[in-house]
Symmetry: D2
Subunit: 261 residues, 4 copies
Amino acid sequence: MPIRALVWNENEHEKSNALVRRLYPDGIHGAIAKAFAGDAAVTVETATLDMPEHGLTQDRLDRTDVLLWWGHMAHGKVDDAIVERVQKRVWEGMGLIVLHSGHFSKIFKRLMGTPCSLKWREAGEVERVWVINRNHPIAAGLPEYIEIEYEEMYGEPFTIPEPMETVFISWFEGGEVFRSGVTYQRGAGRIFYFRPGHEAYPTYHNPQVLQVIRNATHWAHNPAAPWRSVGDAPNVPHDKAPVPLEVKGPRLHADGEEGYR
Amino acid sequence: MPIRALVWNENEHEKSNALVRRLYPDGIHGAIAKAFAGDAAVTVETATLDMPEHGLTQDRLDRTDVLLWWGHMAHGKVDDAIVERVQKRVWEGMGLIVLHSGHFSKIFKRLMGTPCSLKWREAGEVERVWVINRNHPIAAGLPEYIEIEYEEMYGEPFTIPEPMETVFISWFEGGEVFRSGVTYQRGAGRIFYFRPGHEAYPTYHNPQVLQVIRNATHWAHNPAAPWRSVGDAPNVPHDKAPVPLEVKGPRLHADGEEGYR
Amino acid sequence: MPIRALVWNENEHEKSNALVRRLYPDGIHGAIAKAFAGDAAVTVETATLDMPEHGLTQDRLDRTDVLLWWGHMAHGKVDDAIVERVQKRVWEGMGLIVLHSGHFSKIFKRLMGTPCSLKWREAGEVERVWVINRNHPIAAGLPEYIEIEYEEMYGEPFTIPEPMETVFISWFEGGEVFRSGVTYQRGAGRIFYFRPGHEAYPTYHNPQVLQVIRNATHWAHNPAAPWRSVGDAPNVPHDKAPVPLEVKGPRLHADGEEGYR
Amino acid sequence: MPIRALVWNENEHEKSNALVRRLYPDGIHGAIAKAFAGDAAVTVETATLDMPEHGLTQDRLDRTDVLLWWGHMAHGKVDDAIVERVQKRVWEGMGLIVLHSGHFSKIFKRLMGTPCSLKWREAGEVERVWVINRNHPIAAGLPEYIEIEYEEMYGEPFTIPEPMETVFISWFEGGEVFRSGVTYQRGAGRIFYFRPGHEAYPTYHNPQVLQVIRNATHWAHNPAAPWRSVGDAPNVPHDKAPVPLEVKGPRLHADGEEGYR
């Protein structure tokens, strides 16, 4: 069964800015979705902020294996209840790929538990994305670095938790460095953050950038059945314990009672 | 200058339950605070849910080096704005020690980004807390394990991020295991979760448990000046870059503009 | 193309001990190899200490995707040159699964850089292997724990580096705990240590134990081309740098010189 | 009691090369030792390759809290038995700070279990060492980066295990990046690798570089008593188990027998 990818984009710059519209006539989501052209192992759909429930209904998330996220000027417009829904699906095992300015999205900050802040500069400078973890599946098919002629600079410190794996680190013409490709697991869900992709440049037409996005989608896919009960705190009665017990000492909780949350 | 510790307790069971009141006549916070009796390197204060702003005003948090957190039945009563304030202070460098049922506190779930769920059983069984990372400062002065005669069981899977360090793992009489002492860093703040401490048992009178709490407070203290700007995303102008640049290509942002959040 | 697994066993207890021979008439390697019966995605071969070059010639290792290792009484008889050869192949991307008493094998100690020591007891006690990372591919198809009626106890502290992922933790009847399933990456190679498997008990006839071994073999397989140059330290001449440079300041090395090792 | 630091240097370039001698008239070890001038909390000694037992007798290592290591052209001349001795002391809790070309030292490769390879170029280019983990004790007192006018380039991939903490990442004028400050724990010992320090440049006269070395020495110091038995595998008799047991099933080991290694 193919991996069901869903590319989410706020799709706001495209409406208000002619330059972005010219670069991405099908929207940034449309350009990202082309990463999967010719990949029979992935089916891809798109969703945008202005759809009902931002295109992220429970039913649709339940049919999504890997969600890709691009947001920037409208982070604050994303409904908190939908962010919680997405977070729960990640915990259940849905993969999540957060792109570029998505570092400040509600969903990424919630999953990291950190500010996810950084330095930035929009000067069209050269970015060289070095492969650190050479034979990692996310780096499959890449040379030793990806060179991007025009990009926005993101600089350290990037206030994220220490990654599970550091796949890419970027060098910028203006003198900064940045951890550009990092992996995490939260609940059963795999998360990959990938830095490049400023809306004012044609980054999402770069075949190597698209290859990383395609690789990461395969990597983030967890074929296990969704872990629906991931947030539950079940009580194990004393007589159902792996080693059945007599209750000793005092108790506050009555039999069968739910835990506090 | 001594470490300024603040022990926070919801202090609700103590009001409603005679057993807890008998075990902890000064409140659970009072018992925990005694961990620092005789430790001249630490000054300790306490705060409770029913104080104005839960005793966690900005000013008081700014004067706190390490916060210890005990909560259970009243997690939901903790004000979201105060949780955000505490989270910001952790990012700035304040240490945080989360105790027992605090695994489900808003502050711990926010910092972890995961459900923090687990299995549980209240049967007064034996817990044996094994030291995994023997010469870690949090384990200083301990034998190879702490044996606690009566405790509530917490069982895996404990849905936390993979820890930076695993200091303790518990064995339970009824057959379960649990990662009972784990460390993290979020922003500049060090975080330690420590499992034992059910309100129906005298765990916080156990000298070894108090020693862990004291050790962890020393470990979690970050003497660096608070990182007040930890959440900022400063723009670095092209002519102030480490390697000054000419701007190339198109731009969306005007000079001096703030980033989107 | 199927994954090419190679099960290595010292095969010494089988020669000297009737009990082991009775439990494992085809050798421990023979029993482990049966994990792949019916798995068309894996081809399996075996090798033993008494073969020329321990059955681990360069050619054979080059044709191996995942190596499984069982050793105990003959760790010291494994030739250092062959251990180095295996280590190099792991760095190049060959997966390695180290089983039970293999914790003290030369290859595991070399890859970990730590003593890999532990406590132990041979008393035929119950081991309950808890799944910690529930939807990890290595835990696919398992219930919440594997119960093994008779096993040797291994107890913490297990002196390994902090794992990349903790997949299993064991509870023992006699009161100890142990990190029984842990993952690492070294160079391009993925490593999994799995605890159960004492030669005096029928552990390798347990279908759940075999399932973990099969799962881990799939997980450890890195389909990338071998990273043959993983140990090289290439010089990048100044005029071949990504940003070509003029040489400044003094130099010790002549052009084209090899680095020191 | 002050921290007892020992700076080890192969001291070979200083003998054979007039340039290095002019830069470091007291040897590289002499320059590094000056990091502790005015730090009353550290006493410092030095040792060199040409001393008996390379100046690293068991007695001297036993009196060392933190060992600093600089080596390059003579890695192969370091005696294997002494490398094992140093490794054991790290496991017991001695801190280790590996500097620059020490990435290819026997002791670092043994503790990492990886090739520790990298790219390099000697062109006197600018290195900018960015602080990634801003309030980490190793970064105390530093600005957002250290700029070094002339340095040898080291480029990724640096084949090390994923670090416990990434403290520094370097930017190089010629276009490469490198993880320049990384931490590990092996056994009870803390390890810090710090990149700058090519023998042909005055790097060890840079006050910020010396500050990192001083900070790291404080960080690496483990005040716990040495863990002498860190490599032992003690047998726990069934009647001395935390939960005393009757022996069940067959046994291979006789009572009191040592484990195999």
